[in-house]
């Protein structure tokens, strides 16, 4: 499986996401700068976590207008798979590739801790979150991918991740790339990734 990571100014989870994708797929991901207009050929495009443009204006609002986003939209229309993690999720919502929006946490504070999430298939995982705007809201019905097992940040229906209508674009607040090494809080990141993209042998 070929993957590519899109780097925005202020992305800061790109290095560990690179390690994580290599661990999961066995292929080194390509790194793509946001000013590029054309995407390299890949099966999965990942928008990593961080604070692109310092979260100025709104988290993800400025990155949603980066040149690369036009190419990402085309790739999504062609049915390519796209994954946004944390700030990547916020960018995808701002760009209209995913429904809804991410509001500030109800505590108004940044939260960094491992939490329990549940997938639609009923599997439970332990995985870290680290965000200040992770309180998901959508006025319409969405395709839920993951929910927190308790109220963490005020998210509607405890939503932690959603799909688009075609199920090829996924956004999630938890960080699978922070749950794969022996000293991490769990290694569930790998299980989640392999399940999502059918990489189990």
């Amino acid at each position: 499986m070929k993957t590519a990571i899109i780097i925005f100014p202020g992305s800061n989870c790109d290095q560990e996401t690179e390690k994580f994708l290599y661990e999961c797929t066995g292929v080194r991901p390509m790194m793509v700068w946001h000013k590029e207009a054309v995407l390299p050929d890949a099966d999965l495009y990942v928008l990593p976590g961080g604070f692109s443009y310092g979260d100025n204006l709104r988290a993800g609002a400025i990155s949603a207008h980066s040149p690369i986003l036009k190419a990402i939209k085309r790739a999504a229309d062609e049915g390519r798979q796209i994954l946004g993690i944390c700030n990547g999720f916020q960018i995808l919502c701002e760009a209209g590739l995913l429904p809804g929006t991410l509001l500030p946490n109800k505590s108004q504070n940044f939260i960094c801790k491992p939490v329990k999430i549940e997938s639609q298939g009923g599997h439970n995982y332990t995985i870290p979150i680290a965000h200040k705007e992770g309180n998901y809201y959508s006025p319409s019905i969405v395709n839920v991918a993951f929910t927190y097992t308790e109220d963490i940040n005020g998210s509607m229906g405890n939503i932690a991740g959603v799909y688009n209508n075609q199920l090829n674009v996924l956004g999630m607040m938890p960080h699978p790339e922070r749950a794969f090494e022996s000293f991490h809080c769990s290694q569930d990141g790998i299980t989640i990734f392999k399940t999502l993209f059918n990489l189990h042998k």
């Binding site: 100014p9 290095q15 504070n109 940044f110 939260i111 960094c112 000293f183």
Partner: protein
Amino acid sequence: MLTLSEKQTIRTNLGRLPNPTEMHVFEASFSEHCSYKSSKHWLKQLYTTGEHVLHGPGENAGVVDIGDNEKIVFKCESHNHPSFIEPYQGAATGVGGIMRDIFTMGARPICNLNSLHFGMPHNSRHIIDGVVKGISDYGNCVGVPTVSSKCYFANTYTENPLVNAMSVGYTNKEIFTSVPHKKGVVVYVGAKTGRDGIGGAIMASEEFTEGEKKHPTVQVGDPFQEKLLIEASLELFETGTVIAAQDMGAAGILSSTSEVALKGNYGIEIDLAKVPLRAAGMEPWEILLSESQERMIFVLDEDKAEKQNVYKIFEKWDLDCFILGRLTDTNNFVVTVKDETVCDIPLKVLEAPELIRATEDRSEKRKQYFFPPQIIADFDVREIWEQYDSQVMGNTIKSFEDVAIVRLPNSPKAIAMITVANPYYCNYNPQLGVKLVIHHCHAMLNAVGSIPLAITNCLNFGNPENPEIMWEFTETIEGMKEVCKELKFPVVSGNVSFYNETDGVSIFPTPVIGAVGLIENYKT
């Protein structure tokens, strides 16, 4: 403010009266914060060498060799005065400043720690909340994990909170210093210059008095600019065009340019007309003294830089970058605005003379004051820790325990880090107190299976013009000197913060020690 004898010294050494711009330059350069005039004499006595030490105090940060061409760069710095005036920005810019000290040496910051001293939660809530949010917003956005935060509460800190931030960096490439070994062009990079933080160094060299308004002296931080500056700087170091690098900290352009020239034994000429400004109508002295954040200077090899067009790196990261001036052979600090010279001073005259201040032994009196720390029942420090991103970069092994452990990027090695303070013992007996603190660091690093490497210190004290405070300080230095030698635990970097005093009431002597140990082969 300059004292009468300092004014006389300046006049004698200069051979004339300084012009108004030069007066501002002297006032900042001679401030305690920039000159370390009260502490320099004592700091020289510390134990600062050892087989691992590559660069000790005097550089932007200390550098320790951990073998295999890998180096650990670290330093602890205080941002106490600004954090009391404006807790959020004061603490945020403290974190920004210490990280710049690290990547200025060519190393990527890999984790941050902090040691915070507040008044009791019930009457210091706005300071606690502001400081924690400032650190959290800045560190999280830059993407460097905060892995340790020690919080202490005591009445002595109600009017003088202490915000001490430590940053640790790693590199397996070349280390760069602020000492130019040859001449070159002086390049200004980073954010624009505004009126924020003007006089910050002077403010931090005076005690507080009731009702004063000092807001304009606090800088304003922008972590996004810092993140861009880290990436751009690390790219620039790779090009092999950098001769020296220096962060713009206290007294901004003035300190950074004059220090670099002085260290290399050169003169320097800079032209302020080129500096991009955030505010209209700034005077030359304001531009020189502005402490606007996220700026630094590089001394570059002019021909090589031109040939490789390294300036396009800053274009890519949308940062300002231009040639501010160049090093010269004159040994003078020359500032022009277009063709007009506004300042021309021999660099040697800019160095404030060392002071050996009077001390007075008050050990007998102190014994009455010993009271043990109180337990605070209604405050959960976990609510602070949760606000720091401790996991970004994916290398954090242990965070928010007594000792933090972080794996080095792409290496089997890990480093263990701890910050310790014990103001109660240090107040009771400054010399024994600091020994206890350093032994604590050493023992805890051993306890997690690491080899203790070196320490950094933040020495927080009251007004050094008070002989009793000066006594606390010299006793602390004495204790530190002895115990570091005994343990072979050198001091590689640090900072002194005097004047932590409001309306004549001083804080407890609070030396904060940050220590780093090496775990050769980390296995879980």
